[in-house]
Each structure stands twice: as C-alpha cells, then as structure tokens.
Amino acid sequence: MPSPADVAVALWSTTISGQLPHDVLVSAGRAFAGLLVGGAIGFLLGIANGVSKVSEQLTDTTLQMLRTIPHLAMIPLVILWFGIGEESKLFLTSLGVLFPVYLNTYHGVRNVDRDLIEMGRVYGMGSWTLFRKVIFPGALPSIFVGLRYALGIMWLTLIVSESIAASSGIGHMANNAREFMMTDVVVLALVIYAVLGKLADVVARALERRALTWNPIYQK
C-alpha cells in the first residue's frame, strides 16, 4: 500500500504530464453522456407509462424483465457488438442509468395526489398545463431519488467498462498502472473516483434543494 505522500506525488506528476486531466475529462464526458442518454430515455418512458395506460401495458413488463438482467453481464455481448470504442461505454452506462430513472419517474407520476389532478381538471387546465403545473412538480422529489441512485450506477458501470476495455479514462489509467506495479497511481485512481462521485452527488443535492424549496423538508 502506498503512503498518502506517494499518492500526492503521483497526483502531482500525472497532473504535470497532462495524463490525469485528460483521463478525468474523458471519463467524466463518458459518464455524463451516458447519464444524458439513459436518463432521458428512462425519464420519457417513466412519464409516458405513468400518464398513459396504453403505454404502460405495452412497455412496462418488458422493461421490468430487462431490468432484472445485471447490465454488466452484457459486457461480452457489448464488446462483440460495439468493440472497445466509445459506443460500448455509452451503451453500458446508459443502460445502467435508465432503470433507476425510469422506475422512480414512473413511481413519482403514479403517486401524484389524485385530488390535485382533479382540482387541475375542474379549474380548466389542459393536458400540457396539468403536466407542467401538477404532474411533473408532484413527481419531481421521486425523480431526484432516481437521479441520485443513477449517479452511483453511472460511476460503477464506467469503472468496470473502462477497466475491461479502454484506451483512455481513469479506469484505463488504473489498469495500465497495475501492469507496471504502480500502486500509487492505482490508489490515486480510486481517490479520483471517490471525488468525482461525491461531486456529482453534491451537484444533484444542490439541484434538488433548489427545485424543491417548496417542500418543508428543505426549508430552514
């Protein structure tokens, strides 16, 4: 195990050489591209299935079935399909992120207070206004739970897929260091993952706090 001082030195030298900033940017880019694609699909499916009975009957069972397959078990297939390029990482992170966002969005929409929806209808709201003013804000607390859960899965998927097949990114940096027995860089990679994960969670919490100021839980 390297001493903290060794890790600090590794941080310094990899930063100077430009390798670390490059790998962090590459990893973060992949992570957020996956979050964007998977999150958007999960969000849209969750809204559609929460609002429409037809859509729910068509897709919910299938989604629940796919959800039970551990997405990392698909790595061999994904490598065969996409090779070891960016597509395989984007596919895996999107897939990992999709389900928590889908489930929590769906749950949130289904649990919006029926009385409020009835009030909206009686007060003459059209479908779009009803969604914008009642259903979406009502589902938002639950959607945020899905987002924070998804962030955890996003990093996990990325680490695994970068370690197995990648030519850049923090996972690749750690794996490369392993081959040269550079434990200080391996530990540094872990620290970087922890910092990135924490950072993403802090941002999500700040967004949550800002979007849900109406909720007494977030009031001082």
């Binding site: 009385d115 009835e118 007060y123 003013k133 009642v134 109406w214």
Partner: protein
C-alpha cells in the same frame, strides 16, 4: 315567525319556482340560475341520487344538508360536471341563454393547493391558462387582500395554517368572478373559531359578488346562518326545502335561527328511524 317551510312529496315533477321567489337584490350579470330535472346518479347498483328536481334562482345561497351517504356530495359533483348524471338534466340560466355550465368554481373540503406554487400563484390557477402572468398575479393579489392574506402572497402553502390555506382556496375560486360557487364542506376540517370567521368571510364575499352558491355541509348551524334556503337530502331525494328570509349577516345565537336549526336537526335525525 318569519320562517316559511315547504314540505314536498318525494320526486315532485315540476320544481316549484314561484314559492321561493328571486332574491330581492338584482343578481349580477354573471350569476346563473340552476335547474335540475329528474336528476339520477347510480354507482353500480347503488342509486345515490333518485330523481332530484330543483330550481335555484340566480344569486341564491342554497345549503344542502343531510346525513353522510345521503348523496349531498354526489349532487355537488354532478352539478359541477365532476361526475356524469345517470339520468335527468342540469340547465344553467345564463345571460347568453345557452344553458351551458357558466364559469363555475368549487372549493373542496381540503384546500388542494399546489405545494410547489406560491400562495399568489395558486390563486392565479383560478384564472386559467391563457392569461399574462403579471396580470394574473396582480388579480391574485387583489383577491388575496379580499380574504385578508395579502401579506402571504409570496409564501409557500406549507407555511400557512389550515384556515389560511382554505382562505387561499376560496380566493382561487373567486378570482375568476364565478357565476356559480360550489362549496363542498369547505369548513369541515377547521376549528370552531376559524370556522365562524370563515363563515363571515363567505357571507361577505357572497354579498359583494352575488354569485349563486351551493354549500354542502353536515353542519346545520352553518347552513342556517349562511343560506337563503336549506335543502335536506334523504336517501338521494329532497326531503325538505326550507326558505330562510332573515337578513344577513346573521348573529350566532339568534333564537329564531336556533329554533329552525333544532327542527332541521330533528328532521335529519328522525328521517332514519
């Protein structure tokens, strides 16, 4: 004794318009009369409303009372178009003569405010979609001062007391100047003192704005203090139709009203025996 009582046979065919007379003051242009003819509502095999015939002149304040399960809330929901009648018709007498449901608003037992909108934005919901936001908030502020909550305009609903929330709900119903106001046990969840001040508030705005009001309540005292006319429902039929001609505002503890309240209570309780 200035209290006139009309006892009617169940399911009379023609509403007795003449007996109730129009309100002495001319009702405002927006207020609508309501005519229910042979109104029925069944849920499955359960007949909740059994042939309601009723005419409510424009601007009248009608209270509907009865035991729980007598159909009073269902009557209000059908009247507001929340549920479709199984049979019979609802006609509205509006200035344009179309018979369509006029601008009608409802206050529920729970405030049903949107917790993610400020108090003023909640009131503005009553104005509908197609209105400029600044204009809507200005109108909301005006109605909020009417219900003495002007200083709470920017607060979240969760910061208000139960009585204040219900006043916001009332403001939301009033902001579009409705021709018909339906009140579905709006004060049922409030404490006794708050309820009395809310009753005064409802009485005052009704006098100022003159909309036709249908109040569903289980509180007989509330009914006789607020209404021009009290309808007693019993198993989905009109059992009693009483006009209360006393001037507003009415004092609590008025002996004539107390006597009437006693008789109505007796009628409701006796009906089940």
């Amino acid at each position: 004794m200035s209290v006139i009582t009309h006892e009617r046979f169940h399911g009379s065919i023609e509403p007795d318009y003449a007996a109730h007379g129009e309100k002495p003051a001319t009702p405002p242009a927006g207020a609508a009369s309501i005519t229910l003819t042979g109104l029925e509502k069944s849920f499955g095999g359960n007949r909740v409303l059994r042939g309601i015939n009723l005419h409510i002149p424009a601007g009248q304040f009608v209270a509907v009372i009865g035991k729980s399960g007598c159909g009073k809330s269902t009557l209000l929901r059908v009247l507001m178009g929340l549920d479709q009648p199984s049979a019979g018709s609802i006609r509205f007498g509006t200035a344009d003569g179309s018979g369509e449901r006029p601008n009608a608003r409802i206050v529920f037992q729970e405030p049903r405010l949107l917790p993610w909108l400020s108090v003023a934005e909640n009131v503005a919901v009553g104005l509908g979609d197609g209105i400029d936001k600044r204009l809507a908030l200005a109108e909301a502020a005006a109605v909020l001062s009417e219900v003495q909550l002007a200083e709470k305009a920017k607060e979240w609903p969760s910061r208000l007391s139960g009585g204040q929330r219900q006043r916001v709900a009332l403001a939301r119903a009033l902001v579009s100047k409705p021709g018909v106001l339906a009140l579905d046990e709006p004060l049922g969840a409030l404490d006794a003192l708050t309820r009395i001040s809310m009753q005064e508030l409802i009485n005052r705005v009704w006098h100022e704005l003159g909309f036709t009001t249908v109040l569903v309540t289980h509180d007989v005292s509330e009914a006789v203090h607020l209404a021009d006319r009290v309808i007693v429902l019993e198993e989905g039929r009109i059992a009693l139709d009483v006009v209360i001609p006393q001037p507003h505002p009415r004092r609590h503890g008025n002996p004539e009203l107390a006597e009437l309240e006693g008789r109505l209570l007796g009628a409701i309780l006796g009906a089940g025996r």
